[in-house]
Amino acid sequence: MALSKRELDELKPWIEKTVKRVLGFSEPTVVTAALNCVGKGMDKKKAADHLKPFLDDSTLRFVDKLFEAVEEGRSSRHSKSSSDRSRKRELKEVFGDDSEISKESSGVKKRRIPRFEEVEEEPEVIPGPPSESPGMLTKLQIKQMMEAATRQIEERKKQLSFISPPTPQPKTPSSSQPERLPIGNTIQPSQAATFMNDAIEKARKAAELQARIQAQLALKPGLIGNANMVGLANLHAMGIAPPKVELKDQTKPTPLILDEQGRTVDATGKEIELTHRMPTLKANIRAVKREQFKQQLKEKPSEDMESNTFFDPRVSIAPSQRQRRTFKFHDKGKFEKIAQRLRTKAQLEKLQAEISQAARKTGIHTSTRLALIAPKKELKEGDIPEIEWWDSYIIPNGFDLTEENPKREDYFGITNLVEHPAQLNPPVDNDTPVTLGVYLTKKEQKKLRRQTRREAQKELQEKVRLGLMPPPEPKVRISNLMRVLGTEAVQDPTKVEAHVRAQMAKRQKAHEEANAARKLTAEQRKVKKIKKLKEDISQGVHISVYRVRNLSNPAKKFKIEANAGQLYLTGVVVLHKDVNVVVVEGDDEESDEEAVKKTNKCVLVWEGTAKDRSFGEMKFKQCPTENMAREHFKKHGAEHYWDLALSESVLESTD
């Protein structure tokens, strides 16, 4: 069974690894020799003889390993062709053994389980590769598989419960194992230990990775929904398609399980050790199927199984160790600040108390005063009271007109106190000082520009002199090129001209770019325009009321509406027989409203300012009766606009 060169190349790393493992160090001569052996297609014995000089006592073991590796490499290469055949079986195994696999693997890598489950579930949902006949995966089959799986799980549970006490005691290999391990190879205990450690190490890393992935998945609940997708992703993440591994097992049933001095080295560990990227589960499927692994499982704590089946990765588990607490230091001066604040507050309160005390001393308390002043009962419009409330305040005992000489001193509240009521700031605060910009004459402007430019130039020159900046290349123009680039220009005028032109173009470009950079972007320009259109309503809104004789023309209506929309005006249009009132709130520059309807007698009824807008978006309202129109205005607290417009129109008609 001679191998091609390419195959040999592929095998080389394997062999190297094996050599290293057996000898404890890498030895290129051994590798080449081994490669030779394999390449020539020697059988084991011959190869052992051949390699004897290199590795005397460990030869046999090495050869075994070597052939194993070669077989493995080959099988993986053959896997493609045999995949069709094996697929179905694999599926079955997968289904049948998911629990076992997970249990087994969990011994080393607990966290890996969820992913494995997902992986195993995957084929159920997605049909295998297209080469596989889809008919194989009928519903019935799946059902059967599931049943088988559950049965097996049950069995396994029973077994586990029997052997639940974990016995780390060394176990003799089961009777069936020797035939499985025909090579009967032994490994040094120390080596085995290192392998184990190695495997465990790797498994832990994998577990960490897995945990991270799970955490991410938990963050995205949408992804959890279709586990098969995740499974697929995981499959890919693992690098190599699982079937490969499994196929090898099928083609060559030699398991990689090593057994020495009672402690069973898990196949998983070995596998990982051997092939970096190859997930171990499919291999385990194979192994688990066999009865002799019961012993192995005995070693594993039963709780693992529980944690497998009921493990929810989304539930966060509190770490067994409490996190160490760190010191929290306060910033310097924090309490000082707090104290200062308290002190100022106390001071302020004291001051206020003093003020109020003084006020009480000099006058009557404000609240009682207000209660006294307020009118006793509400009067209806048009009612004439017995006495005006402001008069009744000073004569609480009543007043009779019969008394001729009203020289009475029993008036209430007449003192010589002068009130200083609290002053309120005006609603529109326009006392911000108006500052004129600095306006310079043309001469001054020029002077300033000259000075600043000279300054900048000086600075530049200074920099150049200090060597902080390379001196600028001479600025050449067409007009001065002869002077600047004298001899060069004479030698090659064309080239120099091209150079000059390039420089000019560069200058031009730089200038234009600077200009463009200074320009507002389209967005900014838009915002600026809108800002300009939108009035500053903090100082009151400008309002115009127009009265239009006829506003039935939809074109006019549209114009009003469009104008209002574009200029960010609000208001209302009330349509009544003869009196159509247009109220516009917004900027005071929109007299175009008027222009719209010049022919149609539009009268500006009123314009002025109001505190704030009383209407929303420009709306049209058809009002058949006057009352209705007034009501509509009243709703917005602006009935006086309507009153005025209506009465003006009435006056107009009577004239």
């Binding site: 109020s356 000073i394 002053q423 300054e455």
Partner: protein, 429 residues
């Protein structure tokens, strides 16, 4: 280099102030303004221009907070104030009684008669026309006032002259010389030409330099000056009794002067900006002031309290007037509106979108208050029905802003004066 970019005032005193604010010597030996300025600039370039700004801002803040914490407080006025208040109480209470009595009587008149009267009035008002126009002076005329007997009209002019005109033929009777600056207002004593002697104080006027002068009818010179104002006095108004004179001042206060005692009895604060107009209640019990802070206040003259706060205008109040019915107040404002307030209900009853420019004056018809007259900077005066507030007539004819207006006490004549240096009389045909 940084120093050169800092703008420093060229005013030497300001430079010194800045230096002082920064805690630097304001001048060094042999240092001139230029060097000082340069020094300030150098200092500023080191400490940064923010240093000065901050101090300025602190100043402002402290000022503002001081105002914010302002509360109602009292101080004791002179003893004469109490005397005057008692006097006003004695004066106003019977008048109030009388007024209410009359109102009740008026109410007993059947509805139909009243409405017919009203219609008659409206009809006559509709026919109001420009009856006479006279160029009053060579500067804008700021104020006009009818004498109580409606035979004379006093006009105040920005030239500083006040003139008395005969009505209705508009002949110049007197020229009152005394003011040097814009005269804000001139008003007749409520009893002058009716029962008051010509030699007595018949008129009062105020000017932009803060001078308030009292005039008699037989002299062109002021009888007396009222000292005490430092800034512009916008308006003066007589108390209905004729004993007191109210003045409004741009120093945020209005004053009440007792002419019998010849002293200021009340210096009333309360507005946060200058006070522009003042009006007295018919009874003499209340005074209303309108300020440039867009608020109006109604004061009880007997107790000295602000009994009503007229809040609603957006801009300065330029005119305030009491209705003869005793409980309506009209205010005209810079926001082109005129508001009518009800004293009894203590609220704004109606907002008249009166004019297209700021409203300079409002006046109720003095007998029954059946109509309201408003004048504005849109060159027109308008007449509004009083309850109802619908427009009756627009008095258009002036070529300039209407600065002042008045209605004669018999209700027959209306006078308006304008920026175009004329005053016009309007009468129903």
């Amino acid at each position: 280099k940084r120093a050169r970019q800092i703008n420093v005032s060229t005013d030497d005193s300001e430079v010194k102030a800045c230096l002082r604010a920064l805690g630097e010597p304001i001048t060094l030996f042999g240092e001139g303004p230029a060097e000082r300025r340069e020094r300030l600039r150098n200092i500023l370039s080191v400490v940064g221009t923010d240093a000065l700004k901050k101090t300025k801002k602190d100043d402002e803040k402290s000022k503002k907070s001081k105002e914010e914490y302002q509360q109602t407080w009292y101080h004791e006025g002179p003893n004469s104030l109490k005397v005057a208040r008692l006097w006003i109480a004695n004066y106003s209470l019977p008048r109030a009684m009388k007024r209410l009595e009359e109102a009740r009587l008026h109410k007993e008149i059947p509805e139909t008669t009243r409405t017919s009267q009203m219609q008659e009035l409206h009809k006559s008002l509709r026919s109001l026309n420009n009856f006479c126009s006279q160029i009053g002076d060579d500067r804008p005329i700021s104020y006009c006032h009818f004498s109580p007997n409606s035979k004379m009209l006093a006009t105040a002019c920005w030239s500083g002259l006040c003139k008395l005109w005969s009505v209705p033929d508009c002949n110049l009777l007197h020229t009152l010389r005394g003011h040097n600056t814009n005269v804000g207002a001139i008003v007749f004593h409520p009893k002058s030409t009716v029962s008051l002697d010509q030699k007595d104080v018949n008129l009062a006027s105020c000017a932009a330099d803060g001078s308030v002068k009292l005039w008699s009818l037989d002299s062109d010179e002021p009888v007396a000056d009222i000292e005490g104002h430092t800034v512009r006095v916008a308006r003066v108004m007589w108390h209905p009794s004729g004993r007191f004179l109210g003045t409004t001042c741009y120093d945020r206060s209005w004053r009440l002067w007792d002419l019998e005692a010849q002293e200021e009895i009340l210096h009333q604060e309360g507005h946060s900006m200058g006070v522009y107009d003042i009006a007295f209640h018919q009874d003499g019990s209340l005074a209303g002031t309108g300020g440039l802070d867009a608020f109006g206040r109604v004061w009880d003259l007997r107790t000295g309290r602000c009994i009503m706060f007229l809040e609603g205008h957006l801009k300065e109040i330029y005119g305030i007037n009491f209705s003869p019915n005793g409980y309506h107040i009209a205010t005209g404002s810079g926001d082109n509106t005129c508001k009518v307030w009800d004293l009894r209900q203590r609220r704004c009853v109606y907002t008249i979108p009166a004019h297209q420019n700021l409203v300079t004056g409002v006046k109720f018809e003095p007998i029954h208050g059946n109509f309201l007259l408003t004048g504005a900077y849109d060159n027109t005066a308008k007449i509004w029905t009083h309850p109802g507030w619908s427009p009756l007539k627009t008095l258009a004819g002036h070529e300039g802003k209407v600065m002042g207006l008045d209605i004669s006490s018999d209700g027959q004549l209306i006078a308006t004066c304008s920026y175009d240096r004329t005053f016009k009389l309007w009468m129903a045909e």
